[in-house]
């Protein structure tokens, strides 16, 4: 994540945690956000991040929809599919992608392979070849 994005994330968590917007707390929060070490430096475009966050917002209703589908109709078949990793060089975006896929109840990422594919486990209503 870019430096700015990193700071915004840390400050958001800090303010949610402390729920205090006094000057002293803002100074402490900014200091901590700046002083905490960064684990990696990669440069994704802001656009890629915006698209990722948009996908997260869309994933929430989709997850509930899938949950109700699972409850109403039993899904007894399963299979494993491969999906290409979209941003193989960016740990942050890979994390978000795995998060999004696993967050929806019908799909779970089992492994992200070194050759650029995710192994995704899905549940289906019935087996494909029957």
């Amino acid at each position: 994540m870019g430096t700015i994005g990193n700071l915004i994330l840390r400050l958001t968590i800090w303010f949610l945690l402390t729920s205090d917007l006094s000057v002293a707390n803002i100074i402490i929060g900014v200091a901590i956000a700046v002083l905490l070490p960064r684990s990696y430096t990669s440069h994704e475009s802001v656009k890629a991040w915006c698209r990722a966050f948009q996908k997260i917002l869309l994933a929430i209703p989709q997850a509930y929809l899938e949950a109700f589908e699972l409850i109403i109709r039993p899904h007894n078949a399963e299979d494993v599919v491969l999906e290409k990793i979209q941003y193989p060089r960016s740990p942050g975006l890979i994390f978000l992608e795995i998060f999004l896929i696993t967050f929806t109840p019908k799909t779970i990422v089992v492994k992200s392979r070194a050759d650029g594919y995710y192994e995704i486990h899905r549940v289906l209503r019935r087996a494909k070849n029957s």
């Binding site: 402390t18 409850i71 399963e78 998060f99 696993t102 109840p105 779970i108 192994e119």
Partner: protein, 94 residues
Amino acid sequence: MINLLSYTCIGIGIFFWFWGTLPLLGKKSVLFKLHSLSVADTLGSMAIVFGLLLKIPREWPLLVLTIITLALWNTMLGYVLAYCSSSGGENERA
């Protein structure tokens, strides 16, 4: 009105919890159980906390943080469990 909405959310959450947790006792594969657990843990708990958020809006920072961490940690642990189970073979039907 808000009360009704909040109790509906909490009710849905509790229903999700039981629906997703009871199959753990069944004989399906670990991955199948993980799918229903993600309904129960992640979505059910999020619905419950959202219902609470409607009821006590003045605590919103902590409740929003709870929702975010619930989504993040449950999903991550689901991925970790799926990853661990994938090379298990014999243990898959434990």
